[in-house]
Each structure stands twice: as C-alpha cells, then as structure tokens.
C-alpha cells in the first residue's frame, strides 16, 4: 500500500491527466467487450463465457494482418470481421444447440471452446508472449496536456471507442434491428409470433457482440502483450463490469467499465499488489448495496 503516492498523484495535474487517460483506455476497451457480453445476456439469457476468447482472437488476428499488410486500420477491420464470422459459426453450430438445456450445458460448451481456442492460439502463434508494437501511423511524439504525457494513440483509442459506443447506442435505439433486439429481450415468443425470425435475431446479436469483442482485441493489440490466457482475464473483468452496471444494461456496462478502468489506473499507484482485489471489493460492495447492479432492473 502506498497512500502517499496516491495523494501526490491526485494533487498533481500531470499525474491526474496521465492516469485518467490510461484509466479511460482500460475502461473503454473493457466496455466494448462487456457491452457484447451484456447484450447477448440481455437478449438470449445466455452467458457467453467464450467472450474473452473472442477478444483474444481479435488481438491475434490484428497482429497477423498488421504484420502482413502493415496497415493498422486493415488489421482492426480484419479483427472485427474475423471474430464476427467466428461468432456466427459458434452460435449457429454450437451455442444454439444448448439454448434450451440447463445452464450447465451452456457452461460446458463455452468451457470446451475456451480450452480449444487457447490451445489453437498456442499452436498457430506460439506459446510465448507476443507484442505487436505501435502501429507505424501512430509513431509520433506524445502530446503534453497540463504537464501529463498522452501518447497520440491513446487519444485515438478514446475517440474511436467513444464513436463506437455512440454507434452501438444508435443501432440499439434508432434502427429496426435494435427495436427487434430490445423487443426480443423482453418477450421473444411475442416477437416470434409477429413473424420475426428470432433465430436470426439471436445470430445477429451474437455477431454484433463478437465484432465488438474482436474490435476491442484489435484496438488493444498495440498496447497489450498477447498471450493465450489474455481472454480469460478480460472475461473476468467484463463479468465484474456487467455485475456492477447491471446485467443486460449497456449504459450500466459503460458506467461499470469506466469505474473499473479508473480503479485499475489509480489503484496501481496506491495499491500496486491489490489492484485485482480492489475491483472485487468494489463489486462486492455494490452487490451488497444493490444486488441487481447500478442500472439493472430489480428482480
């Protein structure tokens, strides 16, 4: 524990800027993953335990495409498209077979896929840590804001993730697909009775969630080290985020993600060895005070 360092940081503008931007980045990338998780749960009432592996897959795809084409934008696009496609196959041929059975079967199918994907990554990309390095486009001198150092890429990440969140919000609230999705979350049999193919809606939601996770993986690739276990740690964080924000609530996921991001970045100064513990502590407190999460519906 190092409370003196934390107070020093909180009173210095440069440290505040640096830590807040890094917290926002952690939070916004986490949001992209958690939003898909919470969306899938909200509509299908299924918990996609492989969602972290989607993120991992996105990061590795971006690594390969960036290496082949030297275009970071192509890499991120490929990550989103590739993982979206994978999510479609996963949903159609595996997950959809266990929608009706108990949660244990769904858990087992996801568990199997986590094992398989982790091993596949080790076989294809090797077991050692991989690093993509900063994309050539962003190899520029960092900005100085109020004395704090902010790499250009960080600014780009924050802006892109904010735009993505806005797009997601527009899709959910302003498009026909979004309306159907929201309706299916409340009453799937009524939606089905109105002549809408709910199976298609479920696939669509899975693909959307998968693309968001793939995007997050691709966007994170330059600033994270890539390893076969990276999916599971972000999965746990996404769980914490969705539980804090309320399962099924996308706005809640945004709130929870930013909270977790800031807890992680400022916590690493004050309690370097207990950062994970802080997140669980925050979750436990919120669960005790409001079991349905900050923005979750009661019951």
């Amino acid at each position: 524990m190092n409370l003196a360092a934390l107070t020093d940081c909180l009173t210095s503008a440069s440290c505040l800027v640096t830590q807040t931007t890094s917290g926002l980045i952690i939070g916004m990338l986490l949001f992209l993953v958690a939003a898909g998780l919470t969306l899938i749960f909200g509509v299908l009432k299924v918990v996609n335990f492989t969602h972290g592996s989607f993120y991992m897959l996105g990061a590795y795809l971006a690594l390969t495409v960036n290496g082949l084409t030297d275009s970071y934008f192509l890499a991120v696009l490929a990550a989103a498209a590739g993982v979206g496609l994978f999510a479609l196959v996963f949903e159609r041929f595996f997950m959809s077979k266990v929608y009706g059975s108990n949660v244990l079967m769904q858990l087992l199918v996801c568990y199997a896929f986590i094992l398989i994907l982790d091993d596949a990554v080790k076989i294809i990309w090797g077991p050692e840590f991989k690093s993509m390095g900063m994309a050539t486009v962003f190899q520029k001198p960092p900005l100085f804001i109020a004395g704090g150092i902010v790499p250009v890429f960080y600014l780009f990440l924050i802006i892109v993730t904010l735009i993505l969140s806005l797009v997601l919000w527009l899709i959910i609230t302003r498009t026909k697909f979004g309306t159907v999705v929201r309706a299916a979350a409340v009453n799937p049999s009524m939606v089905s009775a109105l002549g809408i193919n709910t199976g298609l809606v479920y696939s669509g939601v899975f693909v959307l969630g998968g693309m968001l996770a793939g995007l997050a993986g691709g966007l994170a690739a330059p600033v994270r080290s890539l390893t076969a276990g990276m999916g599971f740690s972000i999965l746990i964080e996404s769980f914490i985020v969705t539980v804090i924000g309320g399962m099924g609530s996308i706005a809640g996921a945004l709130l929870g993600s930013i909270m977790i991001g800031l807890v992680r970045s400022f916590g690493s100064i004050g309690f370097p060895l207990f950062v994970e513990g802080l997140m669980f502590l925050l979750m436990a407190i919120i669960l005790i005070l409001k079991p349905s999460g900050l923005l979750g519906k009661e019951g």
């Binding site: 087992l108 199997a112 896929f113 669980f280």
Partner: protein
C-alpha cells in the same frame, strides 16, 4: 430419526465393502500407476461430490468451487511447512479455515441468484488465484509451494510411505463420501432438494432458505478443501493450478460426465475424467484441444452422465420385468 433411516446400515455396509476392496487392491494388483490414479481420484471424488451437493442437490451452480480445492491444498501445506504442526492438527486447521472461507464467500454470494451466483463465486476464486500468484513470499507465486510438505508420522501412520499414503487417501475419501451421503439423505438434504425445486414453497414452510444454502455452501467448501488436502499430501506441494478456474471447470465436467442425479455419479465422473486426462496427456501435447473436443462431444452428443444411463437401464429392465410378470 434413526427409525426413518434404515438405509444408514446399508450405506455403512457399502462403504465398508468399498473400503476393503480399495485397501486390498494393491495386494491383488500391485501397480504404482493404479495406486497413484486412485489417490488422485480420491481427491477429485471428494471435490466433485461436494460440488454436487451445491449443483445437483441445491441447484446452486457454483463456478468457483476450485477455490476450496486450492485453498485446502495451500492451507494444509502452509500449516505443515510454516507451523510445524502434526498432520491431524493441520487437517483441523484446514477444515476450520475453509469453513470460515465458505462462510464469508457464501454470505456474500448467496444473495445472488442463478448465473449471478456462478459469476461471483468465479470472481472470488480468481481473487484467491491472483492473491496466490502475487503473494510470492508466502505461496511461492506461480512456482507453487516448493520444498515439499513434511509428513511426520502420527498414530503409527507414516505418510512418507507410499502404502500408508494410499490407505490414508482412500479411507478419507470413503469416510468423506459416507458423511456426505448421510447429509444428502438427512432431512436437511431433503430441505436442499425442496429449495432447488421450489424455494418459495420452502420459504412458506418456514425454512430459512438463506441459512440452509449457506450451510450447504460451507459443508461443500469443507469437503472440497479436504479433497485439496489429499491432493497436497499426494504431490507434496500445492500449485496455482489447484486454485485456477480450470479446476472449477473440471469439477463441473466431472459431475456432468458421471451424472448429477445419482450420489456416486460425480465420483464416477472423477474417475473417468482422470483416466481421460491421463490418456490425453500421454497421447498428445495439445491437452486443451482434445479435452475440449471430448467435452463438446459430450455436451452436444451424449447430454447425460454415465450413471444416468446405468440408472435408466435398470429402470427400463425393472419396468420390462414387471410388465412380463403381470
């Protein structure tokens, strides 16, 4: 109470016969490989059966039960290494401390229902896992508890001798399963089944559902920790994998594989999965790939545990014979 339990005698008799067979086995079939397998299966059988007390009997899908397995291994190993106590004393410390852990984690987690409960138990397990990894001076971090666990003799039992270790592990397992069986068949066990099937009805009947679930959680935690202790004795150490989430995943797979509607299902699943893991480890480097494929085949193909098939077969045969008799 005893009058309603004529099965107690039967259970004790079955346990005694099973124990005698297991104890005689090394003389009939002297093989270190078989011995080692049975010790490991003993540890996993306790782990899986205790998990089934939650999943199968109470309907609480804990995805963090590995936390207790790992905690038991570390608590036992650390008591032996750091405190220098006798094995029975370390056993007692493990039981009491895992009960306390179960009480704290359970009191928070049980407030949540269904999948939220699964999440939070998993989250608690990962908290323990990251603590084990980060607290290097105490736990040895990702290297695990090194240097071996001392095994001083007690009551004429010397666990550094392999035959003693084997006898100790199977005895603990059989006694543990016998106790769990009594819990499951007791009025409390039937209370848990009622909570699983209709917790509102249980509440209307004046049952304190929260307290019953918490009791089940603590009991399951203690027996899971005893499983971890047997494992720590066997490998003479404790490793972070025992606390990792894969442990919980394997526990779930064990009870599904063996069948969660029979009492011995999870133990059978522990045996099958251990055999399977041995075969996969010997045959290939890509353990996850093959185990994952087997799990998929099971979840999408078989969909029922092995003992469920056996139970179905007996039921069908009984029905067939009663039809032909009438």
């Amino acid at each position: 109470m005893m009058a309603t339990r004529p099965n107690l005698v039967r259970d004790v008799a079955i346990a005694a016969v099973a124990l005698i067979i297991l104890l005689l086995l090394p003389y009939v079939w002297p093989s270190k490989m078989v011995n080692d397998l049975i010790i490991r299966v003993s540890a996993f059988a306790l782990f899986a059966t205790s998990l089934n007390l939650l999943v199968g009997y109470t309907g609480m899908v804990s995805f963090g039960h590995g936390m207790f397995f790992g905690f038991g291994a570390y608590a036992f190993g650390l008591s032996m290494q750091r405190l220098g106590v006798s094995i029975p004393m370390a056993f007692l410390i493990t039981v009491v401390s895992s009960a306390l852990l179960g009480l704290v984690v359970g009191a928070i987690s049980i407030r949540l229902k269904d999948i939220y409960f699964s999440f939070i138990t998993l989250a608690f397990q990962m908290l323990l896992y990251s603590t084990v990894i980060a607290w290097v001076p105490l736990t040895g971090g990702d290297q695990g508890l090194m240097g071996g666990i001392p095994r001083p003799p007690f009551l004429g039992i010397d666990l550094s001798i392999e035959a003693h270790r084997y006898a100790f592990a199977v005895t603990i397992m059989v006694i543990g399963l016998l106790i769990l069986r009594q819990i499951v068949e007791s009025p409390f066990g039937y209370t848990l089944r009622m909570i699983r099937d209709n917790s509102e009805r249980a509440t209307f009947l004046g049952i304190n559902v929260f307290r019953a679930k918490l009791t089940a959680f603590v009991i399951a935690g203690v027996f899971g920790a005893i499983g971890g202790m047997v494992m720590a004795l066997f490998v003479s150490g404790a490793y972070p994998e025992f606390v990792n989430w894969t442990m919980s995943g394997e526990g779930i797979f064990m009870i599904m594989l063996g069948g969660l509607s029979t009492f011995v299902g999870p133990a059978a699943g522990a045996l099958i999965l251990s055999l399977l893991n041995d075969v996969i480890t010997r045959g290939t480097e890509h353990h996850g790939l093959f185990l994952g494929a087997v799990i998929l085949l099971f979840a999408l193909g078989l969909r029922k545990g092995v003992t469920d098939f056996v139970a179905d077969w007996f039921r069908l045969r009984r029905e067939a014979s009663s039809r032909s008799g009438s």
